[in-house]
Symmetry: C2
Subunit: 360 residues, 2 copies
C-alpha cells in the first residue's frame, strides 16, 4: 500500500512517521544524508550503530581529538581517512560535500560551540540532549542555525520511540480519561571520574543528564508546558564525586490544565527511568520508559489491562531519530524536536535549579 504525502502527514502528527520513514524512503529513492559525528564517546557508538540500520542516512565524516581511534572507527563505517577532522580544523568540513549534517555527541558544554560552528559551515545539526548548559547558549544555537538556514534537531530519542509514542497516543485518545497527576524519575549511581561530574563540561548534575527525560516526558505525555515549578536539590555522599554538581533533585510541576507532576533524579542510586500517568479512567506506566531498549508499557483503563514489551533492541531509537532527521533534511521539513524543544527544557531546568537554590 503506497503512502501518500497526506497519509504521511497524518502519521507525522501521531509521531509515527519516523517508524515508516525507511520504507517511504525506499519508495522515493531519497539519497542518504551524510553525517559527521562530532565526539566519539559512548553515545556516538549507539548513533553510528543506529545509522547503519537506516536506508536514508550514513556516517560520512568523523571529528575527534584522537586520530587513532577515529581511523579505526572510520574503517568500520567506510569513512575515508580524508574525512576525519580534528577540533582545530573542524571548519574544513564546510568543503566536504559528503557531509550534509553533523551529530553533536560532545560533553554538554561543547554543544553550543559545535552547533554554531557546524551551522556556519552550512551543515544541518542533530545535537544530543541536553541541548546546552544555559538558555543563552540555546538561544544562540537556534539563531545560528536560522541565520545559516540549516535545520537543528535535538536528539530526544523518546519522541521517536514506539512505547513512548503509544503512551502519548493513548492519552490523546482519552484512553485513561482526564490526566490528573504524573510521577516520573530517572537516575543512576555514578562512578567517580566521569566527565558528567565536572560542572564546566556537564553544566550540572543528574537533572541535565537523566532528569531531563522525566521533565521532557511530563511535557510530551501531557502536551502542556509547565506553568509552575518547585524543586529541592541535595548532596548526601561526601565521597568526592559531588564537589561540583548536585547528587539529587526532586521537583514538582503544575501545568495549565491543573495536571501536577512529581519527579526525582539522582546520581547517587540506581533509579530505573519510569513514568506513571494517572487519569480519571485509569493508569498508564512506562517502566522502564527511557532505556535504550527493553521498554515496557503497562496500563489499566476501562477494563483493559495493557502489558506490552517493546522487543526492539538498541540502537533502534538512534536509528529512528536519524531516519527522521534525514527525512526532514531531504524534504525540507521541520524536525519534531527542533531547537525550540531543547530551549524549553533549558528554561525549565534553569527554573528547577533556581528553585533549588543552585545557580547555573
Amino acid at each position: 500500500m503506497p503512502l501518500t504525502r497526506r497519509d504521511f502527514a497524518k502519521l507525522g502528527a501521531l509521531g509515527l512517521a519516523a517508524r515508516l520513514a525507511p520504507s517511504l524512503n525506499a519508495q522515493t529513492g531519497e539519497r542518504k544524508t551524510g553525517y559527521a559525528v562530532i565526539g566519539l564517546g559512548r553515545i556516538a557508538g549507539h548513533f553510528m550503530g543506529g545509522i547503519r540500520n537506516t536506508t536514508n542516512s550514513q556516517v560520512t565524516a568523523l571529528v575527534s581529538g584522537h586520530r587513532d581511534k577515529a581511523e579505526r572507527i572510520a574503517d568500520q563505517y567506510g569513512v575515508p581517512h580524508s574525512s576525519i577532522y580534528s577540533y582545530e580544523d573542524f571548519e574544513r568540513i564546510a568543503e566536504n560535500k559528503a557531509v550534509d549534517a553533523v551529530y553533536v555527541a560532545l560533553p554538554n558544554s561543547m554543544h553550543a560551540e559545535y552547533t554554531i560552528r557546524a551551522a556556519k559551515a552550512g551543515k544541518h545539526v542533530l545535537c544530543e540532549k541536553p541541548m546546552s548548559t544555559s538558555v543563552a547558549e540555546a538561544d544562540a544555537m537556534i539563531a545560528a542555525c536560522k541565520a545559516a538556514s540549516v535545520k537543528l534537531m535535538i536528539a530526544y530519542r523518546c519522541h521517536y520511540e514506539p512505547t513512548n509514542l503509544k503512551a502519548v497516543q493513548l492519552i490523546r485518545e482519552g484512553a485513561i480519561g482526564q490526566v490528573q497527576a504524573i510521577e516520573s524519575a530517572f537516575g543512576f549511581n555514578i562512578a567517580a571520574g566521569e566527565w558528567r561530574l565536572n560542572r564546566k563540561l556537564a553544566g550540572g548534575g543528574p537533572l541535565f543528564d537523566v532528569g531531563i527525560y522525566s521533565l521532557n516526558a511530563c511535557r510530551y505525555l501531557t502536551g502542556e508546558e509547565p506553568e509552575h515549578i518547585s524543586a529541592f536539590a541535595s548532596v548526601i555522599d561526601h565521597d568526592g564525586r559531588f564537589k561540583e554538581v548536585e547528587e539529587n533533585v526532586a521537583w514538582t510541576m503544575k501545568f495549565p490544565s491543573g495536571i501536577v507532576a512529581s519527579c526525582n533524579t539522582t546520581y547517587g542510586a540506581p533509579m530505573n527511568g519510569f513514568f506513571r500517568v494517572h487519569g480519571s479512567k485509569g493508569t498508564l506506566e512506562g517502566a522502564p520508559a527511557f532505556n535504550y531498549d527493553g521498554l515496557h508499557l503497562i496500563g489499566d483503563f476501562g477494563g483493559t489491562h495493557l502489558d506490552e514489551s517493546n522487543p526492539a533492541r538498541d540502537p533502534y531509537q538512534f536509528q529512528a531519530q536519524a531516519e527522521h532527521f534525514s527525512h526532514c533534511v531531504q524534504n525540507g521539513l521541520d524536525p519534531k524536536t527542533p531547537g525550540e524543544e531543547g530551549l524549553r527544557d533549558m528554561q525549565y531546568i534553569t527554573q528547577i535549579y533556581r528553585s533549588a537554590g543552585i545557580s547555573i
Copy 2:
C-alpha cells in the same frame, strides 16, 4: 520460648512487638481491653472485624446516631444494648467500667471533639488518621489526654503492618545503602456525595485522607522529619465534586540528611498507593503499600531480588494496631504512634497546603 520484658522492648524498638502481642498476651493472661467504637461507618467495620481476631481486645460499647444500626451491630459483637450511646449522652460512658478505651472513627472534623470528650470521661483514645483538621485541634487533643492521664494513639495502621515494617527494617539495616530519594503516591477517583468532599467534615481533600499515607511513609521509611516542603494543588474536574476541597496535590520534601521525596495524591484518578525508595545500593518498593491487604514488597539490592507478597487478609492491620494499643493500655506503655506522631503530620499537611496556596 518465653519472652522477657527486655526482649519485648527490643522487639518494640524494631516495631515488631505488636506482631507478637497476642502470644505474649496469652502467656501473661492480660485481661481484654474494652473499646467503645465511636462512629459506625466503613472503617469501624474493619476495626471491629480486626478486634474479633485479637486475644487482648473486645468491643464493649458503641456510639452512634443510628440506634437501629447500633443495636444490630451490638448483637453481632455481644455488646449489651445498655452500652449503646448516642452522641448526646456520650458522657455517660465514663460510668461504664467495661469501656477502657474508645476508637474514634468519625469524620475528621469530629476527631478532636470526641477525643477530648473521651479523655475527660477517663477513657484511653485510639483515633483514626488524620488526627484532626488543624494543628490547634491536635495540640488540644494531646493536652486533654495528658491532663486526663489517658493514652492517645493515632491509628497509623502501616506502622503495625509487616510489609511496611520489613521495608523499614531493611533500610535501617543498610540493605539498600544510603537512601537518596523516594517517590510515593496514593489516591482514588472519588464518588460524588462522599462526606470527604465536605470541607467542614473532612478538613481538606485527598491529602488529609490518603496523601497522608505517603507523607507518613516518607517519614517512617527515612526515620527523619522533613525540613523543607513545597507543593502544588489543583482542581481539574468541574463536575461539582471539588467545590470545597482540592482534587490533586503534588509535593516534594527535603529531609535533614539530604534525602528528597516526591509525592502525589488525588481524588480524581485511580492511584495505587506505593512507595519506592532509592538507595545507593538498590531499590525497595512497596506496591501496593497502603491497602488493607494484598501488600507487596519488591527489592533489588546487593544481588538480592526480593519479591514478597503478604498473604494476610483484611482486617489483619486493624487487629495488629488494636493489639498494640491494648497492650500499651494494659502495661502502661507508650504507643508507637502517639498523638505527637499525628500532630507532626498535621504540621506538615498545613505546610503543604500553605505552599500550595490553600488556607486550612
